[in-house]
């Protein structure tokens, strides 16, 4: 009897343990599939051109650092990096400011026509930049803003408005209204309430929106590709694409360039993963 019980228990743990092991095995395979392309790229970047052609996917021992020094000592990589930083930071600040103000109005003030205006703005979710790029290009050209970072910044910001107003409105709406009443009784104007009370409380939402905006802006290829010809104004994705086109035969050098241009994104991800995920899920699951 006792033996049977033991056996039963064993079977029970077996039922629990075996699926777990399978689960981990499957997940590990997926992790491997994700990591292999990245590792191969890094391996390639540490090889000489000759090694790249003879044994490109074997570990690069000893590592050959010249590809990196070549790129880091070239002027253009730093220019692309600088342009990307300028664009991303400006777009992020502008999105936070512009969308924050609008979201505040939609979440917190009562006025006639509010819902109509909000619905108009959210229609923008139906006009993604990929589809609108030609119309937008024509308009930007009329304004004479092609071949300037300002043009890229404005367009990227404009296409971030709809989604982020929506995310921020939802968050602002969730802050208790008693707080607002109390502030108004104490003599706050709507703007001081916004600045002194709402914004500090909304910091998690703001950082989520900021993280999301940064990734979208940083990775954007289409807008700079269409608006910018001059090499000294290329952003990192555009510069990377052109570098690949130009030095496509030197696979090791291209691999090093791509690795370098991926580093800022990876660092950012490791620090802001939580905020990014919060922004993405808030943006997608808004209802």
């Amino acid at each position: 009897m006792k033996a049977l019980n033991l056996f039963r228990q064993d079977r029970k743990t077996l039922y629990k343990v075996v699926p777990r092991i399978l689960q981990y095995m499957f997940l590990s395979v997926m992790v491997l599939l994700i990591l292999v392309p990245i590792v191969i790229l890094i391996f390639g970047s540490l090889k000489t051109r000759g090694e790249m052609y003879s044994r490109p996917y074997i570990s690069p021992i000893p590592p050959y650092w010249d590809n990196y020094t070549k790129i880091l000592s070239s002027h253009s990589f730093w220019v692309f990096l600088f342009n990307s930083i300028i664009v991303t930071l400006t777009v992020t600040v502008a999105v936070l400011f512009i969308c924050g103000l609008a979201a505040f109005v939609f979440a917190r003030l009562n006025f006639r026509g509010r819902d109509v205006l909000f619905n108009i703005l959210t229609l923008g979710l139906m006009f993604p930049i990929t589809i609108a790029i030609l119309p937008v290009y024509l308009f930007v050209r009329q304004l004479g803003l092609t071949n300037s970072l300002l043009g890229v910044i404005i367009v990227q910001t404009a296409f971030q408005v709809s989604g982020n107003v929506m995310i921020m409105r939802n968050f602002f709406a969730s802050i208790p209204f008693e707080l607002q009443d109390a502030a108004y009784i104490d003599g706050c104007t709507p703007f001081t309430f916004f600045r002194l009370i709402l914004l500090p409380l909304a910091r998690p939402a703001l950082s989520a929106v900021a993280a999301l905006t940064m990734v979208v802006s940083w990775n954007d290829l289409l807008v700079p590709l269409v608006l910018i010809d001059k090499e000294e104004l290329w952003t990192l994705p555009l510069g990377t694409m052109q570098f690949q086109g130009q030095y496509g035969t030197d696979l090791a050098l291209v691999a090093a360039f791509v690795t370098l241009s991926a580093i800022p994104a990876v660092i950012f991800y490791l620090f802001a993963e939580r905020q990014l995920i919060a922004g993405l899920t808030a943006g997608a699951l808004k209802e």
């Binding site: 992790v31 191969i40 052609y53 103000l101 589809i131 030609l134 104007t189 994705p237 997608a284 699951l285």
Partner: protein, 311 residues
Amino acid sequence: MEKAIGSRKENLRGLSQRALLALNVVLFLFPAFTLFMAFVVYPVFQSLYYSMFDWKGFGPAVDFVGLGNYQRILTDRAFMKALGNALLIVLLSLGVQLPLSLAMALMVGRNLPGRTFFRTILFMPYVFSEVITAIMWMGLYNPDPDRGLLNALLVTFGLKPQAWLGDPNQVIGCIFVVLSWKYFGFHMLLYIAGLQNIPQEIEEAALIDGATRRQLITYITLPLLWGTIRTSIYLSVLGALQQFGIIWVMTKGGPVNASDVMATYMYRYSFVRFQLGYGSAVALVMLLISLLFSVAYLRLIRQQDYLSGRY
């Protein structure tokens, strides 16, 4: 008398407060609406105008062709090929990518030890730009077995090396693998977030009542996750219809239009061949297709909610 004065004062105060409110509303909304109207809405209407001209992009558009550009789109086999490819990617995403993401989310679940590690790694490709992703994979797809990992593996196992991106029959499949690599983590993340909103008590109750794990998933978890699933379907379809970056970097729509999608087709006509009137018409057709899908899908969902009493 005194009362009358008081209410008049109040009225005045109310008026000035209303004016203040109106001022605030206008000021706060001004930047967002200006940008939105000028750079999102206005250009689309302008395109509607240009789409009726044969226009190379310089000088005023004078060569009026009416709906000729639209007619040309509908009879162009390259556009139909691009549309077909887009639909193929949509189908593959819905049939392969989303179920995979869902399975991963269920596995990573809520309380698997080490779930943060798995989530971090599996979601990581999302932060790489499409350019980086594309170049990374071009290396793997290199047809020369001495350079590309995939063919090297095939040769090691005694199989014939493939042309991958150079083969018109394989190229869409290859691109779909890259798209899945980059984006399945995003959908997995949505499902994980959706799972977290399901109260655990319900599942525990089902388990106590003797439900097996499979029953638990099919009868409890999946129905409760339906809201998230339909969002992810929506985003996945729209994303597939707008795909541009990865394909443009990897193949530019080639070989011979084999991997064209609507966006690469539109880009080629607009910015390589500079047929801006025709390009405008293509952009509007794309917009129309996305809009039709959005409206139809949202209506369908609403109907479903209504029928099931959820609405």
